[in-house]
């Protein structure tokens, strides 16, 4: 079988060492898994630096790495908006304002918070859609990795798929959430050390940051943009037509910076679960703040290689090319092709191991979030309540196996039908877009009711669907890219369409929740809302803490760092 990169035995040795350690961590933790809480919530005992790094690592899956590098190659430095606007503010908000309710309510999952705050049906809607989403997401990323290994290294698709699934299964089955989190920390360091040399060598090759800026300004002018379109993060954002992303500043800040980013970071149990595993309220609130620090520098690891690739692609002498898909460049192959371009045997093995690590951290994150929601929010709530703890521990372990098996199934589904996966991701986007409005009103407005939350959420999902049906990405065929009801409006880019879909979903959910709440009776008394709603909860204060040790001080520092970075690359 023909393939692009050949590995030496030393590369395989490095991969093998990594696999031994990942499995070893699971094995070491096995004897501590005595209760369902140990297995599904990591015993709520971990220090903040561990949960903080896991918080970022769980999000740093293969799809994120491929996707952000691809965006770097397509849109240049504008991709940093996904970090400095699209992550840091939401992470600060989660830490300071929302964590007290997630952690303080003693809810074991995000859907369970909705049950405590609102009612059973709101929880059910969230739990079921989330459970389905996690197994599909891990299936899609498994497919992406196995497909890549096949094209790049000539490995058998089934072999890579089963091998990677089996490794994740073993270590999450043995050590539960703790094992997933510990491995995420290990994977985080590996990803940094494996990818950083790529950015460094790439930069040396293109003549440093100044050299890259110069080269990309030529590309920008050639494509009809202003010189800094690819290297200045805010240049040309005044109008959708003057920047490669095809979106203007308002859509960017509202759609990405507010709705999508807060919806993801503040309500997605995949990341929130990491913070909830912390050993104390202080550590739980500190988790997203600690995660935010490496997060804001990740563009150096994932976007910069994309930008360097953009330069190389426009330089016929570089000899660099991407994989081809349907006759055009497949931008998702930026990172692996760059690894192959710059890394000699030895480091190449390390780079590919880092890629595997990023894939596994993403998949394990999904699997551990799935088994918790399945066990607590679906099984214990609807199928078989009131059983001893041991029983739920077994169910959690079984759910891990079950979740991985379904993921393998969805990976094969993805291999069969490309469009089905696009379709499913679209449906998830509809389901998730309004969610932040529900949590926001739940936590900060005590008058919001169960009916209000449930019907507001439904209205938001419908609004997202209808908006997608009525608008289209310019130049695309009607269907998965929108316009399947009637084309009323055309957006200049797919990103603009998805941002505006989210904005509409959020606004409709917000308004509907308020209207329905006012027209229905409150079902929870003030006393029942203690610890669940802002105005009913005593202010949280850490004993004997100096001002500079407080989470607020850290939050301000993190925010200031993000602002400084934004200004530096303005």
């Amino acid at each position: 079988m023909e393939h692009v990169i050949s590995l030496g035995w030393i590369d395989l040795l490095i991969m093998a060492v990594y696999i031994v350690f990942v499995l070893g961590i699971g094995w070491l933790l096995k004897r501590y898994m005595l209760t369902a809480t140990d297995f599904l919530e990591a015993g709520r005992s971990l220090p903040a630096w561990i949960t903080g790094l896991a918080f970022i690592s769980a999000n740093l899956g293969a799809l994120e790495v491929f996707g952000m590098a691809a965006s770097g190659a397509k849109y240049g430095i504008k991709t940093v908006h996904f970090y400095w606007i699209g992550a840091i503010p939401a992470m600060i908000f989660l830490a300071i304002f929302m964590m007290p309710f997630y952690y303080g309510s003693k809810a074991r999952s995000a859907p369970e918070y909705l049950k405590l705050r609102f009612d059973e049906k709101t929880r059910g809607l969230n739990a079921i859609s989330f459970a389905v989403m996690t197994v599909f997401t891990s299936g899609i990323s498994m497919f992406a990795l196995a497909e890549l290994m096949r094209i790049l290294l000539g490995w058998d698709f089934n072999f890579s798929l089963i091998l990677s699934a089996l490794i994740v299964l073993i270590y999450t089955y043995l050590g539960g959430l703790t094992s997933a989190i510990y491995n995420e920390v290990l994977q985080f360091f590996l990803i940094v050390i494996g990818f950083l040399p790529l950015s460094i060598i790439g930069l040396i090759n293109v003549g440093g940051w100044e050299g890259l800026k110069e080269a990309l300004s030529e590309v920008a002018v050639e494509r009809g943009f202003s010189a800094g379109a690819y290297t200045a993060s805010w240049q040309g954002m005044g109008s959708a037509a003057t920047n490669p992303m095809g979106i203007q500043w308002f859509g960017l800040i509202m759609g990405l910076g507010f709705v999508l980013s807060f919806g993801y970071w503040c309500t997605n149990f995949l990341v929130v679960q990491r913070a909830m595993a912390a050993g104390s309220m202080r550590a739980a609130r500190r988790t997203p703040l600690i995660g935010a620090i490496p997060k804001m520098f990740l563009p150096l690891l994932v976007i910069l290689p994309g930008m360097i690739a953009l330069k190389l692609l426009n330089d016929p002498e570089s000899g660099f090319a991407l994989l081809q898909k349907d006759g055009s460049d497949d931008f998702n192959s930026v990172i692996p092709m760059m690894l192959g371009h710059y890394f000699p045997t030895g480091l190449l093995g390390l780079g590919l191991t880092a890629l595997m690590a990023s894939f596994m951290s993403g998949m394990a994150g999904n699997v551990t979030a799935f088994n918790t929601v399945w066990t607590y929010d679906i099984y214990q709530s609807y199928i078989n309540p009131n059983r001893p703890d041991k029983h739920y521990l077994r169910v959690g372990q079984f759910a891990t196996v079950f979740g991985v098996i379904i993921s393998i199934g969805t990976a094969y589904l993805a291999a069969q039908f490309d469009n089905i996966m696009d379709f499913i991701q679209l449906v998830f986007a509809f389901v998730n877009a309004p969610l932040f409005a529900t949590f926001l009103l739940g936590m900060f407005w005590k008058r919001s009711t169960g009916h209000g939350a449930f019907y507001g959420l439904l209205a938001g999902i419908i609004a997202a669907t209808v908006h997608h049906g009525l608008t289209l990405t310019a130049g695309e065929a009607i269907g998965i890219k929108g316009g399947w009801i009637h084309v009323f409006h055309q957006y200049p880019s797919e990103m603009a369409l998805s941002f505006w879909t989210a904005i509409w979903a959020f606004v409709v959910c917000f308004i509907f929740t308020i209207i329905v709440s006012f027209s229905t009776q409150r079902t929870k008394s003030d006393n029942e809302l203690k610890g669940l709603v802002y105005s009913m909860t005593p202010k949280y204060k850490e004993e004997g803490e100096k001002w500079y040790q407080s989470n607020i001080a850290l939050a301000i520092l993190v925010g200031a760092m993000a602002i400084v970075l934004s200004i530096l690359f303005w």
């Binding site: 490095i14 501590y32 015993g43 510990y182 290990l186 000699p344 390390l350």
Partner: protein
Amino acid sequence: MGVDIKLPIGLMFTILGIILTIHGFLTVANAELYKKSLGININLWVGLSMLVFGIFMLALSKKLKRPEAKK
């Protein structure tokens, strides 16, 4: 949990660091291999960095264990 994660992380990076460093030393004269990385013996550099990081993690995990043992 009774497992100090710094220990496995430190061990893994130390081992990987040693592998890459030795590989880098053995291939010092191999200009062909390092043509890709602009003539830089990147295996050696990254290997040494990993070794330093690994030993640092191991030292941290030891440091934290001592006061605990006193209790």
